[in-house]
Amino acid sequence: MIITEMPEPVLDKIIEFSDFKAVLTLRQVCRDFLNFIDDLNDSKLPDSKLLTFGIRSDYTENNVIVCFMGPDDSFYRFVYSEVEKSRSFNGKTTNLKDEDIVDVAIRDLERILKFQKSTFQWSCFNIHQLFRRPKFPNLEVKLSNMFRKLNRKIKTEILDIMAYSQVGFMSILPFVDPETLKRLRLFSMNKTVRIEMNEIAETEQWKNAKSIYCYFYALKVTVDDICHFSNVFIKMLYISARVLDFLRETITSCSNIDFSRFKFEIPNENEEMSNLWGHAFITAYLGFTNYSWYFRMKNSKEKILLAEIRPTRTKTNICFENIESREVPNGAIVHDFKGNTILLW
């Protein structure tokens, strides 16, 4: 009796009791196993329980790299080389002949993602490429197509995407499970690039996440788009005093807001801001002046909103932070949430 001739329910059960590495090995045993495993419904495959996942297009080396980390600190790294036309994994190099390396990388990725039922702690899509001469021009489109075919949202707590346009971010973001996503971090290789965010801010993933980090100049983001986050870091070209006061009022007066820290970076110093909420508590840090204001939060005696403006030579950091009342320095004035001031010490 050859095992591949066993009845289907038996083979299903054997697969069920194998770990995902064993099932991937079984695919290589013979064509019958390969066909059987590839035709299996995803629900019958064992959970790969991978913790992290990353795909990176390395345009300097002409490589696409796919990495995974397993629960037992096992690390899997696949390198697809355009120059060598090869795939390297675990010390073994396979010649890909005339195959497109992006196609092979995405096919391998799909094969592994089929096993993943657990939530990734962290997923990273570094698909940033040089805008004028993209090395792998179809990578984003092919990733989107693969996710569409997989027909299952990727569950991850932290999602990092490095892209050069809203389209690039949108090729990944909608395929991530909005229920599990907690922290969204968007990067661009060039930190001065300006990217419109209106479509991104409309997604369920953006609306459900707890934290957002934008390491480039974000355009078309409104206060309403960010109020639900507990942590924000966004680079902006400009932010008006009116918007900042509106944010201050929203944070202090909203009782159910799960606020922790909002930080904005604008490219130049704004003189007006040093008097934004009247006389500021001034401190010096590394030769620069910090302007701080303290506000009482509605429905909380312990919590204080710290609003801080820190101009440097090239940029201004604006920060709203949730602090304890004991952290307010001596001599600082705490304003109540309606705008009246209370002397704390």
Binding site: M1, I2, I3, M6, V10, F17, T25, L26, Q28
Partner: protein
């Protein structure tokens, strides 16, 4: 040992079982059924033990045999080797009315025997035992390379498989040609 236990365990297959009169609480006497495999050796098994097999349990429910009818008509499992059926019967007896443990370490280690047991258990629809067997089959190759798996499970490579298939086709072709020639000869 209680009189009830003595009554069931010492009963010879040919003797009708009777409820012991001395039992404190009257219990429904356990009914027995009979099965045999390829070797025709008949095994007497209690209905309680046979409950593990969804197939046999279904047969019993549908047939509504009396004790005599059951004895006269053992369930035939011609596709199961005698020693494998014995293993299955022993397992059912050992786990009669008990919750099944998370693991079973008494399964055959030899690949052929284990595979035959898997087939028999799958046929007889014994869910728990099938789970143990499949787990053991999966464990045989855990952490092994494709080459080692081929060796352990005796799977031919695709090339060997194709060659064997070609050879079989060739042989079948020759046999068919021989038969056609013989048939033509007969017709003449």
């Amino acid at each position: 040992m209680s009189s009830t236990e003595q009554g069931t365990s010492s009963a010879a297959p040919a003797e009708p079982t009777t409820a012991p009169e001395s039992a404190a609480a009257p219990e429904v006497p356990e009914s027995f059924y009979y099965v045999h495999g390829k070797d025709k050796v008949v095994h007497k098994v209690s209905a309680g033990a046979l409950q593990h097999s969804a197939l046999i349990h279904g047969m019993i429910s549908n047939l509504g045999y009396t004790e005599e009818q059951a004895k006269a008509n053992p369930f035939p499992f011609e596709n199961i080797d005698g020693d494998i059926l014995q293993m299955v019967v022993d397992w059912c007896n050992q786990h009669k009315g008990k919750p099944t443990p998370p693991e079973d370490t008494n399964l055959p280690k030899q690949k052929e025997k284990l595979f035959d047991l898997v087939l028999a258990v799958n046929y007889l629809e014994i869910k728990e035992l099938l789970t143990y067997c499949c787990k053991q089959v999966a464990m045989m190759v855990k952490g092994k390379s494709p080459e080692e798996i081929r060796e352990i499970w005796m799977i031919p490579t695709d090339a060997e498989d194709e060659a064997a298939e070609k050879e079989a086709k060739k042989r079948a072709g020759k046999e068919a040609a021989g038969e056609t020639a013989a048939a033509a000869g007969d017709a003449k």
